[in-house]
Amino acid sequence: MNRTRLARWWFAGTLLVSLLAMLLPLPTVLEPFKPYWPALVLLYWTLEAGDRMTLGMAFALGLGADLLDGVLLGEQALRLTALVFIALRFRSRLRFFPMWQQTLAVLALLVNDRILLLIVRAFAGEALPPLAWWVSPFVGAALWPFLFLLMDDLRMRLRIQ
């Protein structure tokens, strides 16, 4: 009982921290390289606890992120829902990939996410972003193995299902 509650808090806490990490400012030079943290953390939970993860949660997290970001309500909700849907579809395969293959899959998911964002922005009538804007998925994918191992290790230590 206590264990499941802890698991639930840990789950919610990591998602909240990912939202905060999204808001955290970086020096202007590093700005375009910032990975999309909510997507990475959400992907981790989709792969590791996919039976608990639903599209509704992804949607809710996206709405929260939109409220914080203040760009367009529903934008990140759309992106994260699509991301989690794809990840859930291929979850049983993705989980047993070796790490490098998994990283490539994450890269593909993040690039797909950027394309979705680009489509939304284009519909909203915004200008095309510069080339450096496309670097972020690669940084996210490069960080993926470390994030995955770190979160897995923490989960083992806390003995959370």
Partner: protein, 316 residues
């Protein structure tokens, strides 16, 4: 989180797809409604109880870094900085004293001319909250909001010039749009020649664009831009930027100039919010009292309200 009966390998794909379509449609409806009405900010205002502490939390690391920087800064560096600031203050005070005399004289002369303009400036200090609102967005979060009397449309300045204007207000934070934002437009006057035009934010970088300068106009690199006060949002006479290049626009009918903003957009930690503008928003009242008697004045004032329209639409 309840017990899942079906194996994750065979989760009902039809139901999953339907759910996906439902959520995607919901997100799209939200986006369209938000884009049309912009009620995200109304939702945000009501959700401020949750949202603002998160901003404070997210702003903490940068504030902490700042504090650490101060704490571990070299004593010598600090002394130097202090000395530098002292000199600046002295200089500014000297200038101010002279200005005060001029202002007083100006005031007297204006009283003679029976105008009700005054040079008093009501300002409010605000700090920039170190929160990232997304790459390539020319927005800043300030730590003053509706409770501190901040209103949408207030101009924001720093020590060097106009930074932008307030676009959204939350109970104790507010969001400002920098002059370099593509949505921003600010009526300016070129200091050297008195030519009036509008400076827009640019899509490319941290510069201002002045796309509608008549071909015959005399504009050079190095010209200073001041706010013209037309449109009533920004008070006249504040530095906005310095022209760096002038070239014929792509359409060929105008000259297009690019300008570097004079405010420290990247580095300012403290900003000033201007209160109680001299002129209300909207077309300025005709001011025949200022200047020579009406019988001698050329009919300029009738043309003045025309460039005001882009300015009033500046805040989306």
């Amino acid at each position: 989180m309840g017990p899942e009966s079906s194996s994750p390998l065979f989760t009902g794909s039809v139901a999953g797809t339907l759910r996906l379509i439902f959520y995607l449609a919901l997100a799209m409806v939200l986006m369209v409604l938000d884009h049309r009405n912009g009620w995200l900010w109304r939702v945000r205002y009501n959700a401020a109880v949750v949202v603002e502490p998160l901003y404070k939390l997210a702003g903490m690391p940068s504030a902490g870094m700042h504090a650490l920087g101060v704490a571990f800064a070299d004593r010598k560096l600090l002394t130097e900085q202090n000395q530098h600031l002292r000199e600046d203050l002295l200089l500014a005070n000297a200038k101010l004293n002279r200005m005060a005399a001029v202002a007083e004289q100006n005031q007297r002369l204006k009283e003679l001319l029976d105008t009700r303009h005054n040079l008093t400036l009501k300002v409010q200090l605000a700090r920039v909250v170190g929160v990232d609102l997304g790459a390539y967005r020319h927005r800043l979060m300030l730590d003053a909001g509706a409770r501190q009397g901040v209103k949408t449309g207030q101009p924001v300045i720093d020590a060097h010039g106009v930074m932008g204007q307030i676009v959204h207000v939350l109970p104790s934070t507010s969001e400002m749009m920098l002059v370099t934002d593509p949505d921003s437009a600010i009526p300016v006057v070129i200091e050297r020649t008195g030519l009036r035009t509008v400076a827009y934010g640019s899509r490319e970088g941290d510069q201002l664009t002045l796309p509608t300068i008549p071909r015959a106009a005399d504009v050079k690199a190095g010209d200073h831009l001041l706010t013209s006060g037309i449109g009533g949002r920004f008070p006249p006479g504040f530095p906005v930027g310095e022209v760096v290049s002038v070239a014929p626009a792509a359409t060929g009918t105008f000259l297009e100039a690019h300008a570097e903003p004079s405010a420290d957009l990247d580095r300012s930690q403290d900003v000033l919010l201007l209160h109680d503008l001299a002129a209300p928003a909207g077309p300025p009242a005709p001011a025949p009292e200022a200047g020579p008697p009406a019988s001698l004045a050329p009919a300029v004032s009738s043309a003045a309200p025309a460039p005001a329209t882009p300015a009033t639409g500046a805040a989306r």
